[in-house]
Structures are given as structure tokens and as C-alpha cells.
Symmetry: C2
Subunit: 238 residues, 2 copies
DNA sequence: ATTGCAGCGTGACGGCCATCACAGCTAGGG
DNA sequence: CCCTAGCTGTGATGGCCGTCACGCTGCAAT
């Protein structure tokens, strides 16, 4: 198979480096075989769109490499970014199992390889392998969980400073354990961060300036260093 | 069995009036039998709490009658109501299947009968009945779907008027089909509505006054009549 | 009746932040 | 090397709405 965007295509799921953290990792071998048979790999360039909010579900995408932005938008053009998906995640799962339209839009923001499974194949597979259906349920539960926690940061904390602090702390929780100072690379623009926390671009810029002045963090290029986790936490309920 | 709060207890799921819309409706009879065997019924008075955010999951509650408020709250006492559960719904599903703590708090706001299934029994049941696991996945997908749409109303529309209009339109969509004028009974206080849309109590009061003055709706006791659905819709992107 | 309490209505004030406007900055591309 | 385009920084302005404060109603209990 060609690699249209200069991306190596990993043909088999068995050799996928994310097999361990993946959804279907400890299924019996025959099930994995079956899964591989109905999976088709594809590569997408930056800017491509996997699916759009409102489309009827074609199937699920298993993210092998790259990054994908999941967002929803309103009629007047405003958009809200829910999360950035990392390799190993499965996209389009809720819509595919329920049959309702995709509730989100999935845009590729870093060149991505994704494996696709069509809805009919996928449902058939789940019906035959109850164990896998349970795994899917668990995955959905976790997705729901993170949606709720996103909702809390947006809905409960009014001050934008609080929302940004929460956002950064969540990031640092994923990326590193806390030893007082956390370094992480942030590829998002201020605009995108604004859309994630429900604020305006300018406010995000000003808040970053504030936080820098208060010695809470430090920015060098696309690397962000959180100097004082405790300091950020003190912003939360002030 | 006693009926401690003056509520008739329906012992068997088979005779439950919501059997049709319920999660496990068209399972094969033996599965339903098994389900009935691990289910225990209980009644709860207004003000009771089924589970609290942060608790580790004990199991699922199947709502047979009454109403239950699902909310989440932050450290400083603010709380956000996600939805009001109606009979036929299953509560605590995400936490129970993932094993993570309950992400919400479930408070009874109208005397309720709920059937309980313990986590271990429930998981065992799902493992034995793959078909049921798939149904659970679908249910979770729909719950996720509604969480996303809730998120959009809270996150994308800042004007409180817009949020309230969205909220009312959602309500009217559930309760009736649109023929220009919709009547519905609303048992929520202004305070609770405020917590659902992320606004303050006073703002909700003022907005209702506004809407009444604009002839969009009308309130008599706990009955709310939406006079002009189109009018409310025009508030959405103004 | 009286007390109490929960919910509703309404005014005043002030802060936060969205919006507009514009200016420097980096990066990539011809 | 400019030139365009996207990103970032910053000021000015104004409105929305959260908060405080208080009075009102209606309902329940004693």
C-alpha cells in the first residue's frame, strides 16, 4: 500500500505499538484475527476530516498515530473543542453503536494513521464477541466520565483564570507526575485553548501573561513549564 | 414487602410498566429471569440520595417510578444539574461498568422506586449475556450524546437568555410535538433551572419576566405554556 | 394566627470579559 | 528579500450578569 502523505502505514493491528493500551487488547486470538480482517488502514494529512457532526455514522476509527481534534460547533460558527485524541483511542464509538449521527467533528491536526471499521462489520463483530461489547461499554463509560469532568470545568468555574488553571492542571496530570515542576509541549494555539475552556482568544493571551508574571509558569517556544503546581491550584477557588 | 413511604412496590421487573422502553426489554426470557433474580427493589422518599459523586460504585439503579436529580458539584458548593431522570432510566451505569467512582450525585426529588443490582452481579450478568452488554453500550452512547448536547448549550452560548431558551426548547421537544403552542408542567424551582443552565437564580427570574413580557410564554402555577416556539428560537442566535 | 421557611420579584452596583482595533512577530514561500 | 498570513500582545470600551440586599407571597406546622 502507498503512503500518500509520507507516513508509514502499519498494516496489521497485531504489530501496532498501542496494542497494549488499546480497546481490544486481551481478546482471544481468533477474535483479534477477525477484527484485523474487517479493519482497513488509511493515512490522513493535517487538516483532513475524519467525520463531521451530524453525519450518520459510517463506523469507528482507531487512531494509530497522530493527533485528532474533537469539536462541536453551533450554527453561528462558534466552536467548542472537547478534547485532543491521542494514539490508541477509538473515535466515533458512541455514534456507531447507537446509530445516531456523529455528535462531534474530528479534524486531523497532526498527520495521522487511522484504522477504519465499518459500522455493519463492527456491530456484527460485537454481537459475536460479547467480551468485546463489554470492553466497548467500558470505553464509553470512560469517555462519558471525561466529558463530565470537562463539563465541570466549563460549567462550574466562571472566572476564566480558574478554567485555564484547571485545563493546565489536567494536562499536567496526563503528561507527568507532580514533582513541583512539570514540563510539557503544547501544540495548541491560544485560539484553540480558548475554544477548549470557553473563553476568548485575547483572554487566554492575557491570562498566560498573568500566570507568567506570577511565576506560575514559563513558555519557551511550544514548550510550557509549570513552575508551581501549587500556585495554579490556589487559583482554582479564589 | 413493606412500602415504607406509602409507595407500592412492584416486585417483578416483568410487570414493570416501563418494560418496553427499558434497557433490557427484548432479551431472551431466560436472561430476563436471571436479571430478575439479582434485582432487589427498594423505595426512597423525597430527599433521599441514591449515590454520591466520588463514591466507589456499588451497582446500578433502575428507576421504576419517581424522579431523580443528577448533579455534580465543585469544592466551593456550586452545583450543576445535568438532568432529571425519568422512570425507565438506568442510573450509575458508567461508574458501574468502568469501576471508577460515581461521577454524579443522584438525589430523589419525587418519591421513587428503584431496583438495585450490585456491581459484581451486574458484571457477571453482562459477561454471560453478550447481547445485554451491547445494549448497555448503546445506552451509554445515548447518555454520552445527551451530555454533549448539554455541553453545547452551556459552553457555546454565553448569553443566559440563549441558554434558557435552549433549555425550554429541549424540554418542549421531549414533552410534546410542536404545533405552535406547547403546554408542560415544570416542577423545578428557578434555582434549579439556574443550576441546569449555569446561571444565577435572579437571572432566571428576570429572564422569565422578559419572556412573559415578550409573549413568548406564560406561567400558571407549575404549568408552563410556550406560546411561541418560533419566538424562542429567534432568541438563540441574537 | 403567628411563625417560619422556601421560593419569587426587583433594584443597585460593579467586575469580568467579549469585542473591536491595531501593532509587532514569526514563518514560510515566491 | 519582501510579503502574506497566522499567531500573539495590548489598550479601550461597554454590556451582561453575578452578587448583595430587601420585600413579597404562599404554604406548612405548631
Amino acid at each position: 500500500m502507498r503512503a500518500p502523505y509520507g507516513l508509514e502505514i502499519i498494516e496489521s493491528c497485531l504489530s501496532c505499538p498501542h496494542r497494549e493500551d488499546r480497546l481490544f487488547c486481551n481478546l482471544p486470538p481468533p477474535a483479534v484475527q477477525k477484527l484485523a480482517a474487517i479493519t482497513s488502514a488509511a493515512a490522513y494529512p493535517k487538516g483532513a476530516t475524519l467525520f463531521v457532526e451530524g453525519q450518520s455514522p459510517r463506523g469507528v476509527f482507531i487512531l494509530c498515530s497522530g493527533k485528532v481534534k474533537l469539536s462541536t460547533s453551533s450554527a453561528d460558527g462558534r466552536s467548542l473543542i472537547l478534547r485532543i485524541s491521542e494514539p490508541g483511542e477509538v473515535l466515533g464509538l458512541p455514534a456507531t453503536v447507537t446509530g445516531k449521527p456523529y455528535e462531534l467533528t474530528a479534524d486531523v491536526i497532526e498527520p495521522t494513521q487511522a484504522n477504519f471499521i465499518s459500522r455493519t462489520d463492527f456491530l456484527l463483530f460485537l454481537r459475536e464477541h460479547g467480551e468485546a461489547a463489554l470492553r466497548v461499554a467500558q470505553q464509553l463509560g470512560e469517555t462519558y466520565h471525561s466529558a463530565i469532568s470537562e463539563m465541570r470545568t466549563i460549567g462550574l468555574s466562571h472566572s476564566a483564570a480558574e478554567k485555564l488553571a484547571r485545563f493546565l492542571l489536567d494536562l499536567s496530570a496526563n503528561h507527568d507526575e507532580g514533582k513541583g515542576e512539570v514540563k510539557l509541549t503544547l501544540t495548541l494555539t491560544h485560539e484553540e485553548i480558548a475554544q477548549m475552556i470557553g473563553a476568548s482568544r485575547e483572554t487566554v493571551t492575557r491570562l498566560f501573561a498573568d500566570f507568567k508574571k506570577k511565576q506560575l509558569l514559563q513558555v519557551r517556544g511550544s514548550t510550557l513549564i509549570i513552575k508551581s503546581k501549587a500556585g495554579l491550584e490556589s487559583v482554582l477557588s479564589s
